[in-house]
């Protein structure tokens, strides 16, 4: 067994505060921005939502790893863990939708015309829903090891709609044999679309198509973001169906770290001024060039450690 495993529950206790605390702060910032009609403040809030959504992924994965360790401890209730997992899953899905909408709002404001109020308000609504669910997930998580905080019986009552529970998703992927290969094919198509958009946009920053303005290529980014969203969904389905393949897999941990960094890099490409200085036949700032190199390396790294799941991590 990998000695790293010992740290994963600690990491979960650290990361699990981000989706709740981060959402509260970002929600406050966004409400203030809307009240003051401040575009700069709104941008900061939206960027924070996107960052919190990214960090929700490692919070979720370290949770799966923690559950696999706690399941062997007799006084820990498996039902309490399942309920915490189901609540955290709904919360994570809502958080990822919030982060995706925040990204869209940031992209739209870069396409001109300032922040679209429709998207910004939908971020606000989904953030509130996320907070309500994540708050519940947090208290259910606390009850796993702190029965003194119990209000009522933790083992009764189901969380959320039946189809969104971890156990139902697990059963679905096991029952339909074609679902796993189908999702894999979709995951690979998504990988290609995302990487292709990343290569094309960054090729301009590295000098390949000097006649094209960066602003024109920026129009293609939502297709990359859509593919990323699809791959997060299919990836989460793999992970929920067979957590034993991923939760303690060192190659998967490396993939996740690089994914968070690559996600941050995507934010740079979406909102920063640097790359936009590259008009037709205009020079590219050194910082934008460095970020372009890191974009390609990071996404290639995400693919590498994904492909290495069976070889470095011993999955499947």
């Amino acid at each position: 067994m990998n000695p790293m495993n010992l740290n994963l529950p600690h990491l979960h206790l650290l990361l699990n505060h981000i989706p709740t605390v981060g959402t509260v702060i970002a929600l406050g910032l966004l409400a203030t921005a809307l009240a003051r009609k401040s575009d700069a403040l709104a941008r900061a809030a939206l960027e924070l939502f996107y960052g919190v959504a990214l960090l929700t992924l490692p919070a979720y994965v370290t949770g799966l790893a923690t559950a696999r360790i706690l399941v062997d401890i007799p006084e820990v209730s498996a039902e309490a863990m399942a309920r915490h997992h189901d609540a955290a899953l709904i919360g994570s899905v809502l958080m990822l939708i919030t982060g995706g909408l925040a990204w869209l709002a940031l992209w739209q404001s870069r396409q001109g015309g300032g922040h679209k109020s429709g998207t910004t308000w939908s971020v606000l609504v989904f953030a509130a829903l996320t907070l309500a669910t994540m708050g519940g997930a947090a208290s259910l998580g606390g009850e796993i090891r702190h029965p003194e905080m119990l209000v009522g019986d933790p083992t009764t009552g189901d969380i959320g709609p039946a189809w969104l529970r971890a156990a139902s998703i697990q059963a679905l992927v096991t029952d339909y044999v074609w679902l796993w290969p189908g999702l894999e094919a979709l995951h690979f198509v998504g990988l290609a679309v995302l990487f292709g958009v990343i290569v094309v946009v960054n090729a301009r920053l590295l000098g390949l198509m000097p006649a094209v303005s960066y602003a024109a290529l920026h129009r293609l980014l939502p297709w990359g973001a859509l593919a990323l969203g699809l791959n997060v969904v299919s990836g989460m389905l793999f992970m929920i169906a067979t957590p034993e393949q991923y939760a303690d897999n060192i190659s998967f941990h490396a993939k996740l770290v690089l994914l968070v960094l690559a996600g941050a890099n995507l934010l740079y490409l979406t909102t920063s001024d640097g790359p936009f200085r590259a008009g037709p036949h205009q020079p590219v700032p050194a910082m934008a060039k460095a970020m372009a190199v890191s974009a390609i390396l990071l996404w290639a790294g995400v693919m590498y450690f994904g492909r290495m799941l069976p070889f470095i991590g011993g999955a499947f």
């Binding site: 290969p181 894999e184 094919a185 690979f188 198509v189 990988l191 290609a192 679309v193 995302l194 990487f195 292709g196 958009v197 990343i198 290569v199 094309v200 090729a203 390949l208 198509m209 006649a211 094209v212 303005s213 602003a215 024109a216 290529l217 129009r219 293609l220 297709w223 290639a300 693919m303 590498y304 492909r307 290495m308 070889f311 470095i312």
Partner: protein
């Protein structure tokens, strides 16, 4: 008594495939357990196909009306990048094929996949000329059908490639 004409030939080619498959480099690739062996070739194939199919998609999206401020003729350097990525995909694919030739050559999915790869490449070649000489500089209407074709064929080829891991040899 003479053997039927085709029999000896078939025997020879099967022997040859087995010879390649069992050659020292291929055995090392499969069984050496090094990350520089089979896993590295597999990654090279993924990186290559991701670039070729992905850049095709990005160019296809331009023809389908997204990013109309991107001048079509300026896309030409991307095609050179795609040929380079395709060379990587084809070379790594050939090695993966030789390493497991008797299984892969007996798999119907493999031939379907290769058909879609060829069709997709054909669409990309037509897209290249449509980008070089667009009928309409903004819409690039003469490339729209080839763009859809490339998108569909790459998705089909990728799906076929994935399914090869699940669907075994014919009958």
């Amino acid at each position: 008594m003479r053997a039927p004409a085709g029999a000896g030939q078939r025997h020879f080619s099967m022997d040859f495939i087995e010879l390649l498959e069992q050659s020292a480099p291929m055995v090392w690739l499969r069984e050496g357990g090094s990350l520089w062996g089979y896993p590295a070739i597999l990654f090279a194939h993924t990186l290559g196909l991701g670039t070729v199919a992905g850049v095709s998609t990005a160019i296809g999206l331009r023809f389908l009306g997204f990013g109309r401020k991107i001048p079509l003729p300026s896309l030409q350097p991307l095609f050179s990048l795609m040929w380079a990525a395709f060379a990587l995909t084809a070379a790594s694919g050939l090695i993966l094929l030789i390493a497991d030739a008797s299984n892969k050559l007996a798999s119907a999915v493999f031939y379907v996949k290769m058909l879609f790869v060829i069709l997709a490449l054909l669409c990309v070649v037509r897209l290249k000329s449509a980008a070089a000489m667009p009928a309409d500089p903004v819409s690039g209407s003469n490339g729209r059908l080839w763009a859809l074709g490339a998108l569909f064929c790459w998705a089909a080829a990728i799906t076929g490639g994935r399914l090869m891991a699940y669907l075994g040899p014919i009958g």
